[in-house]
């Protein structure tokens, strides 16, 4: 997984309270499946987490 993509995702998530993977993919201009993979990796590393409201979203870990 490219470090650049991971960095772009983390930077985008820092600007929003929460997002769907699809929105992350659009924001970073990358293929959805690659973004899914990168977010999965980041979650296993504890850098992002998920929140369930009306649907599930991803967010930066411990970001209010």
């Amino acid at each position: 997984m490219s470090e650049e993509l991971r960095q772009k995702i983390l930077e985008y998530l820092a600007t929003v309270s929460k997002a769907k993977n699809r929105d992350v993919a659009r924001a970073v201009g990358e293929e959805k499946r690659l973004v899914d993979k990168a977010i999965a990796e980041l979650s296993k590393e504890g850098k992002v987490e998920y929140i369930y409201l009306d649907t599930s979203y991803v967010k930066l870990k411990d970001k209010g």
């Binding site: 993977n21 977010i39 979650s43 504890g46 987490e49 998920y50 649907t55 599930s56």
Partner: protein, 387 residues
């Protein structure tokens, strides 16, 4: 405990086994189970629930599998102030060794309330009630004994299948294996939510559909056959001689009139082209009538409960497909469906609702399946046709 919980105590009476008795058993060792009993009593008195939803709870690397639950009266019932639930992925067909079950009991006795559902309506093992700080250690222990979390939220939910070839002569597909294989293949989809809403896969071995796949799964796999029913005429005669009214209860109930009972020859005759494989004659005479031998599955799409736009039964997508490991065609189809749904679906829109909004035609094009008459009850009546 005495008279503290009179209404709950009432539910210990009667012949059906009592869940209150079970809560009390757990309460002997777990203060949280004791508080749960009191919360339930309180709900019986107040006639409302005392649980709150929400919060971010989970274990590292997962976006589901833990349901966050908090009491709305935490001061009164501190040991259930946070009382979260684990969904634990069951083995295909809900078969267990006692060794595995005892291991899970030991883990849950250590980290949770000692209360469970075997099983939840999702099919998962439900471990009911853990404080927040125990979630990660409990998960680690579960992983240590070979269990993993099931799905919750906008993920692939825990796939389920019927008992299948393990103990049913009617199963036309290996439900246990296809469910296990898909579960293992799509672990990431099961654990990390990325879709508009939930997606369920269920597999039944025959059209009796014992896991309600047609009503409950977005992706429904139902075993079926392409050739003719197998009829053992001697066994039919045995049923007739045993007192079964073959003419009235078997032939008379065939929905398509595909059967005939030749009283003189004492033979059950079949017009194979008229049989729609409903299972009625097989259910009535399991020793005499059996599914054909050219086994496969019908794939249907879109079954769901009412939320949001109304309930659906699944629609026929592929009338017949051979279902053999490694199930490449099924996996490719699923990926295409998910890509299309994820691209176009609105928040909380199930795949069936998206198909309704954009049209079955659009969906079929997206997943590369050609229309066939088996997909519809009847063609359209209106003249508003797009070319």
């Amino acid at each position: 405990m005495g008279k503290e919980t009179p209404m709950a105590d009432e539910l210990e009476k009667g012949p059906w086994p009592s869940f209150i008795k079970e809560i009390k058993r757990a309460a002997e060792k777990h203060p949280s189970a004791n508080d749960l009993l009191k919360v339930v009593e309180r709900s019986y008195k107040d006639k409302v629930t005392h649980w709150k939803h929400g919060g971010i709870v989970g274990v590292t690397g997962y976006g589901g599998g833990v349901i966050g639950r908090y009491s709305d009266v935490p001061e009164e019932f501190p040991s259930v102030a946070a009382f979260h639930t684990f969904r634990v992925n069951h083995p295909s067909g809900w078969f267990y060794t006692t060794k595995k079950l005892r291991q899970i009991c030991d883990v849950w006795e250590k980290y949770g309330s000692g209360l469970t559902n075997f099983h939840g309506s999702t099919g998962d093992i439900i471990l009911l009630g853990s404080p927040t700080e125990n979630l990660q250690p409990c998960f680690d222990a579960l992983s240590g004994i070979g269990f993993d979390l099931g799905g919750s939220g906008s993920v692939l939910r825990t796939p389920t299948g019927c008992v299948g070839p393990a103990r049913c002569e009617w199963s036309c597909i290996d439900t246990l294996n296809v469910i296990y294989d898909l579960t293992m293949e799509f672990q990431d989809e099961l654990h990390r939510p990325r879709w508009p809403y939930k997606f369920k896969i269920k597999a039944s071995g025959c059209p009796n559909d014992c896991v309600a796949a047609i009503a409950r799964a977005d992706f429904t796999i139902i075993g079926t056959w392409r050739d003719s029913l197998r009829i053992d005429q001697d066994a039919v005669r045995e049923y007739a001689e045993g007192g079964l009214n073959v003419e009235k209860l078997v032939v008379g109930k065939c929905p398509t009139g595909a059967l005939e009972w030749d009283e003189k020859a004492r033979e059950l005759k079949l017009k194979p082209q008229d049989c729609v494989r409903c299972m009625h004659c097989i259910n009535k005479m399991p020793k005499a009538v059996r599914p054909g031998l050219d086994h496969g599955a019908t794939i249907l799409i879109g079954g769901k409960a009412p939320i949001l736009k109304g309930a659906n039964l699944s629609w026929v997508l592929i009338p017949f497909i051979k279902l053999e490991p490694p199930y490449t065609e099924i996996k490719d189809l699923l990926l295409k469906i998910w890509d299309w749904w994820d691209e176009h679906g609105r928040t909380r829109e199930r795949v069936a609702e998206l198909i309704q909004r954009l049209g079955l035609k659009t969906f079929l094009r997206a997943v590369g399946i050609k229309p066939v008459p088996q997909m519809v009850n009847q063609p359209r009546a209106n003249p508003y046709v797009f070319f």
